[in-house]
Symmetry: C2
Subunit: 462 residues, 2 copies
């Protein structure tokens, strides 16, 4: 950026924002350049706006619009697809200070600012005997705004749906700096286009979310949890299909042998290291029915070759088993740098996907571990690599693309819950096809004609 | 329309559509001019295309686009807001012949054509032990395509959500005649903008839906149903709030004294004609818990002055009680022509809405009966009038607008589940405000630059 334009933008931000909101110090800027995708192409932003209010976001957005400067919205920086990677000369709008949470127990809703962590929303709801279900594995350190921006999923989605199912209203700052309220604390509302739903999952490309009205539900009952170990991948996958055909579990998770071993290395839970796969299944029905369902799950698992099944309705023990699944990605990450996939397929193709990924791994001599929200057909193949070995990096990059190509060929998606961001952007067109991509772009252009809202994310160059 | 243009359009439709699809006979056209809103301004279309396939819709749409002719999509014609009112010289695209339903029990999804009735989808699902929850009172004669176009609700939504919560994928014919597939049989998918959700509830203004992929859930358990009669409106409303604060019922419906009497006139169910209000509450939890919940509901109702509570877990008796609620609108309709509202408010304002409507009715000497999906804050004030009395019609029209103004003033919506259509279009801007209406229009223009898709519905003149 030309030095005088740069100075003009900084001066305008300084003038229009409250003291302490603007960050321009180079060392401080570095903390806002990367999300968990660690995009090597992340640039150096011009400034970071650590907004404290919708008005702060509006002030920054108005200046960005006037000067044609790109804006990168950012929550907790826990994104896995590079949706918050900074760009050179952009303004990063960080929502990490906006963390207010208000619960209305009568209407069973939460009004939250985007920077609040997912677990903080859950905790605030539980004080009133209520529950906010979506539970990405990163729930301890991901922001609710990021969850909305990516339409995040999690472990309980197999029964309770994803983020969009809980979003009733949004306050959004648009590309021109105007703030609008979409939806609100109404359980049913069909007046006008479903804009609330359109902004959910738009990854900061249509506007910046500054407040969210969430639907809450009564507290979950204490679930009964079953862990089953399988000697074969195919046995575990068939058990997933059989379980889904027989009931609606509240969790149905999968880990392969590599993940089991990585978790065992980290957590020492006495998991069977020789198993090819492990399923974690939960029922949160009332006690008698839950016991009945979990007994049926055990029969299904054993019929599909499970060597060991262990069930518990003790809350701490249940939580420890689920924590094993939540820690699978960090555990595998200890084996090397990760390239993290998020491909999903229609459930009957789950086996083809899992076996196909193994074939890709073998062909490219790349280690790929799979953990999955199996009941949703949503898998996370984890490509493990030593980034200092250029040959390995190159092979992993090719395998990364081939996994997405495979998912597309199986009628699946390139991303089930993490978002496209910058890392998966090159595959979006292959997945959507020309006509649907064009529809996306027409809406993007209608709402952000200058392409200043998170440019490069989702859509790449426009 | 100029005669030569008219001839050219008819000739093109005749040439490009299979035999038997095009209807141009004036007497036959009349059957496609009105939906249940009986819009007095409905025009006479140029032709009706009774499509048998996505390709038929595309062929008609391409001609409409080339000639700049308006297209009115139409399902079963059961709409209550005039969303399918014909216009002079428009092409009505009727989807009533496209009724195929395919159930995949493994993935628990249905692939349906838009003309299938809601109950037909339910019946096909139930053959596999599955359930499609959304249940508008018109379920016996409304089409699933219309349900998607309006994001229809119903009675079980208080626990099970609305249509959009079950739509995973759509095939849509766009304004230029291209057909696109959005979403599909994947339980989680965040690649690109949430276009599937945008098209749900768009009332035919963005495209014509020709196929739908629906999520199904396991069959509902036999519910326990409680009916409670209240001597006061306020007692019934407080009971609604108390029940919602204590549990998540699978149904929580309200009828006022006028509706109770109208239903009793029609169905002879020995309802207490002197009651001011009646609640119908259901729990579909497993038996022991359902009994416990319904007992708690009874305590709440009695504490709020209920004079009579009757509970049953007999399926036929339950169904008869719910049928009373479903028949409330047709029953009240026997008292005169109806102007049907669909206003919704945040739950704590439900009492203000119900009492405010009574005040409007008294002030304009108009009978307004209220039935409501009370647990969602979604009410249907029914304005009863003798249309042959011009004074009464005029007063009712004013009251109709004042009810919407009241809902807006209470932080509510002008339509919770029926759609804006043509009847509520004049109030959309008041509800959305200028900026959000502008956002709606930008998307409409981006997707339908000629404004040929259901013009006049939702947005009025553009």
């Amino acid at each position: 950026m030309e030095p005088d334009r740069r100075e003009r933008v900084i001066a305008a931000l300084t003038a229009d924002l409250p003291e302490g909101v603007l960050v321009t110090n180079r060392d401080s800027l570095d903390a806002y350049r990367w999300d968990r995708a660690n995009d090597p192409d992340a640039g150096v932003p011009l400034a970071v706006v650590r907004a404290t209010s919708t008005e702060d976001v509006q002030a920054a957005m108005r200046i960005a619009a006037r000067e044609g400067v790109a804006v990168i919205p950012r929550g907790a920086g826990s994104g896995l697809s590079g949706g918050s990677s900074a760009q050179d000369d952009a303004i990063v709008i960080a929502l990490d200070r906006m963390r207010r949470i208000t619960i209305d127990p009568v209407v069973q809703m939460a009004t939250v600012q985007p920077g609040a962590f997912n677990v903080e929303v859950k905790a605030a709801a539980s004080e009133h005997g209520l529950w906010y279900p979506p539970d990405p594995s990163s729930q301890e350190f991901c922001s609710i705004g990021g969850n909305v921006a990516t339409n995040a999923g999690g472990l309980c989605c197999v029964k309770y749906g994803v983020t969009t199912d809980y979003v009733l209203g949004l306050t959004v700052v648009l590309a021109d700096g105007k703030a609008v309220k979409l939806g609100g604390p109404r359980l049913k509302d069909v007046a006008g286009l479903s804009l609330t739903k359109l902004f959910v999952g738009s990854e900061g490309t249509l506007g910046i979310i500054t407040e969210i009205v969430l639907r809450l539900v009564p507290a979950q009952r204490t679930p009964t949890t079953l862990v089953a170990m399988f000697p074969t991948l195919s046995g575990a996958i068939q058990a997933v299909l059989d379980i889904k055909g027989a009931m609606r579990p509240s969790m149905l998770e999968f880990m392969d042998g590599v993940a089991i071993n990585a978790v065992e290395d980290m957590m020492r839970m006495e998991l069977d290291r020789s198993a090819a796969a492990m399923l974690i299944v939960q029922s949160d029905e009332p006690e008698a029915l839950a016991a009945e369902q979990i007994a049926a799950v055990e029969v299904i698992c054993e019929a599909n070759g499970a060597t060991e099944c262990y069930a518990t309705s003790d809350p701490d023990e249940s939580e420890a088993l689920i924590e094993a699944r939540r820690q699978a990605i960090p555990a595998v990450e200890k084996r090397g740098a990760l390239l993290l996939e998020d491909v999903g397929v229609p459930l009957p193709r789950l086996g083809d996907l899992v076996l196909g990924v193994a074939e890709i791994a073998a062909r490219h001599r790349t280690e790929i571990s799979i953990v999955a929200h199996a009941g949703d057909g949503n898998t996370h193949p984890l490509l493990v690599l030593d980034p200092s070995d250029p040959g390995q990096k190159e092979r992993a990059d090719i395998a990364y693309g081939e996994v997405m190509d495979l998912a597309i060929a199986l009628g699946g998606t390139i991303t089930g819950e993490h978002g496209v961001g910058r890392l998966k952007q090159p595959w979006l067109g292959d997945y959507l096809g020309e006509d649907v991509l064009d529809l996306n772009l027409r809406i993007k252009k209608a709402l952000d004609p200058q392409n200043i809202l998170n440019p490069g994310a989702v859509f790449g160059a426009i």
